[in-house]
Symmetry: C2
Subunit: 357 residues, 2 copies
């Protein structure tokens, strides 16, 4: 920004209706060595601290003479992390950061610490697919619902290609935007496709929250409304080896509920840190008696992923053992880390190359 | 939510890593008579108040025994309004409301107060267009940039239709998402097309902030990068009577800068509360000497819109007079209200039916 622009910006801000705006500070400021400075303007606060998913504990921030609180953290492993500020007892997102975690229950900002070489979720100079925001009518739920759909680079250019489809479900209080806004599913797919590691595919990201209806209603919504909408409106392959389902947390539980009761329709079922404490999960898997021989023929890939620090680590291990005991062949993908979207991106990046092959 | 679901939700929340989450409260709660209750949980705050664009002044909230602050406001004229809470001296969005204003400079939540009959921006049971998130390479700016594109219902179904295009620019600190997330441009277009009032069209919403480059670089970015990208990737009509440009605030200024210097390319130029305090605007219009006769033949529609309480009201009136004095024929659209996205939606809804006819 040159001086004239700065002056114009200041004039504009002072003209503006939001008379109470705080001064502009740069936050977060990511340094070349992967350390990060966070800043927050709060003249009258007694204490301000930083909460971030790369920190074990909240970090106190220091106030300067102008009322701007700041802290610089040691170099952080490159990734995208949720963070927020605690101002006295109040949790706030970073007002100077545009990027907010798409969620119905909490508000975090996101800080993107780029790698020295590009990470798999980074925006790279490769052909880009497209994310579309659609509406569909759900007969199951009696309402118009949102749907986010990724189509790969070069989609439908010749009007002849038909694509396999991954149905990808978000976590418990997330929204249909979380897989792209936080999980960068589109960029992960763009990069893996550009590297020749993943097949061009359509990724459908439905909205998993069906309130005020009850959670098990999501299964018929996917089967009877979402899939028919996609298959009527996109050039897709409709046989089971070209249909996959995956999801995180509550969406991982929904993935198991939907996928394992429909193995004639999904040859790929990938549960990321699946959350089991739901009515539907207990109904499906408490006294589970699958036709394992048949299912093992139908399933080309069945994975359960989890981090060793995930609060669901023991639960996922127990379920892996249970599925094995019932004769199924789950592949377990166990990594470091917790119940986070940093891990979730890894799970997706590991899954995509294994689909539709 | 039934009791089992509630119990599961509570269990899940208590398991979760975000141990410091406040209790779930319903906020905002819009009542049938258009009054609204806002709630915020803050046990230790000394005072909490509501700021909202339907209020002249902040409204104090009252704390109950559980530490939840609330206030119920009198019936409000149905519309979508930005609001926030002030917790002691700290401005926060509503943690229980998913919908956040897409902006780089401030953080507001949005409350949607539906009309007794559907408003023009509401989600109705009509055919819906699609919003696509794209990337394009800007040679002008030397970077990959985001672009949001609306395609109308039934787009490209027969593979033969070519569409007119409206280029629609956001306000000063907004993002490429603000026209859809806050301005509901897609739903306004869906509804007007369903009513037969607007022609099916493509609406291209570029990202107007070109920092660290200087603001006038946006003009060549639109002309040499955005438009060629759209015309290479979408079935569009490329003659001037099928190309329009419109924008709000800083984007209204950019609209005048781009549109009036390229009347051979845009037959429709619609400025919504245009902000004139920029270098480029002064360069173009301080000693303005247009070939009015030629331009009046080229321009099928040239409008300036503003609200009587807009901080730019006098400025827009002055510019309308200036353009008239220079022999151009601006249509002025002057309504109640301020420099807000409530007004901005009105301006768009008034413009769309007049385009490409």
């Amino acid at each position: 920004m040159n001086k004239i622009q700065l002056l114009v910006a200041i004039l504009f801000l002072s003209f503006s209706a939001q008379a109470q705006r705080n001064p502009v500070v740069v936050s977060p400021e990511v340094h070349p060595n992967h350390s990060v400075t966070f800043r927050f303007s709060a003249k009258n606060a007694k204490q301000v601290s930083l909460e971030a998913q790369f920190l074990k504990d909240k970090l106190p921030m220091q106030k300067d003479a102008s009322g701007v609180w700041s802290v610089t953290v040691d170099p952080v492993k490159p990734d995208i992390y949720p963070y927020c500020f605690w101002v006295d007892d109040t949790q706030v997102t970073d007002p100077n950061n545009t990027v907010v975690f798409a969620n119905e229950r909490f508000k975090y900002s996101l800080v993107d610490i780029p790698g020295d070489t590009p990470l798999i979720h980074s925006l790279q100079n490769v052909p880009h697919g497209k994310i579309s925001y659609r509406y569909y009518n759900s007969k199951t739920l009696g309402t118009t619902r949102p749907l986010v759909i990724y189509t790969p680079p070069g989609f439908n250019v010749n009007g002849k290609t038909k694509y396999p489809v991954l149905y990808l479900i978000h976590g418990g209080s997330d929204t249909e935007e979380t897989w792209t806004k936080v999980g960068k599913a589109n960029l992960i797919a763009d990069n893996l496709i550009a590297q020749g590691k993943a097949k061009p595919m359509i990724i459908v990201m439905p909205y998993g929250n069906v309130r005020p209806k009850s959670m098990p209603e999501f299964t018929p919504d996917v089967m009877n409304d979402v899939i028919p909408f996609v298959e009527a409106n996109y050039p897709v392959l409709t046989d089971s080896p070209n249909r996959a389902i995956a999801g995180f947390s509550v969406g991982g539980g929904q993935t198991l509920n939907i996928g394992l009761t429909n193995t004639d329709k999904f040859a790929y079922v990938c549960a990321y840190a699946p959350y089991p404490e739901t009515e539907e999960f207990r109904k499906n898997f408490s006294n589970y008696a699958p036709d394992a021989e048949k299912m093992n023929k139908q399933l080309k890939l069945f994975t359960l992923s989890v981090g060793t620090e995930d609060f669901l680590f023991e639960s996922v291990k127990k379920n892996i053992a249970m599925f094995k005991e019932k004769g199924l062949k789950p592949v377990s993908y166990i990594v470091d880390g917790g119940h986070t979207w940093m891990n979730c991106k890894q799970y997706l990046a590991t899954t995509l190359p294994q689909l539709f092959k």
